[in-house]
Amino acid sequence: MKNQPNADFESDCIRRILAGERQLFHELIRPCERPIFFLLMSILRNEAEAEDAAQETVIKVYRNLHLFRGESQFRTWALSIARNEGLGRLRKADSRREDSLEALSEGQGGDFTPAILTSWREVPTEALEQKELGALLRQAIDGLPEIYRNVVLLRDIEEMDVRETAAALGIAEGAVKVRLHRARALLQRALAPRLKAFAPKRGKLFGWGKGRKGGAGKDESR
């Protein structure tokens, strides 16, 4: 289960840190580590840079803690600092910005039709014990345009709500919903045909005719 922040704990923590109990900041920032790193990874596309930027972000959050007004959740505020850190590094590096290319695809009709199937056999999460599956999923998400990838990351992977995601990314709530929908459509299309290999095969005992979804058969996956 993802580490979800607790609002009461946070405001109390912040008060105490600013009053002098600085060591508490270690605990305050913990639930933010994952989303900070993965957002920066999404923006910077390089693990070492993302880690460096994450450390810079956390230092900045620490130094500016007295400026946090509590208008948003702490994590949201920390993530917008992370986003600015990431974007700032991109500008400095003067690398070609994905943003400008992908902003185009937002307005145009992209093809978001799903992979057409007539049945679906559930792939259980146990299948993730196979490294190839994790690699496949990461590759698919990596292949998304950045604006969709960021939303998938915060909404689905870090389980943030629409409002928080919108605030952290500096976009409208409507945009969060549209982008998440499109991201999921693209991912279903890319992954559904390839996930079939990871679904448990129907066992001979239970496989008469049209089996039930989810299959009651023996799991024969590697």
């Binding site: 289960m1 900041f25 790193f37 880690e51 620490y62 049945s119 999460t125 929908h181 999921r184 992954l191």
Partner: protein
């Protein structure tokens, strides 16, 4: 109001989030009862999300947290009591 497959696909995400109004949800449910394709699209989309959202898929680099907190300690020391 009859709803066709293209409509259902447009609302798949909202449907999964429970964000469609009661009337639309009823229409989609009715459509799903008899449409194998949309049922499969829905099930596969849900399955895909559950899989990639699993915390085993995206893991922090080894030692990330330790290095981060060490850096923080340095900063705290440098900024003085």
């Amino acid at each position: 109001m009859r709803i066709d497959c293209k409509h259902v696909w447009q609302y798949i995400s909202a449907y999964i989030e429970g964000e469609v109004d009661a009337d639309l949800r009823a229409e989609i449910d009715k459509h799903l009862e008899t449409c194998e394709i949309c049922s499969a699209v829905l099930d596969s989309t849900r399955n895909v999300v559950v899989l990639y959202a699993d915390e085993r898929v995206f893991e922090l680099p080894a030692g990330f947290s330790e290095r981060l907190h060490e850096r923080l300690d340095e900063e705290m020391e440098a900024s003085g009591p």
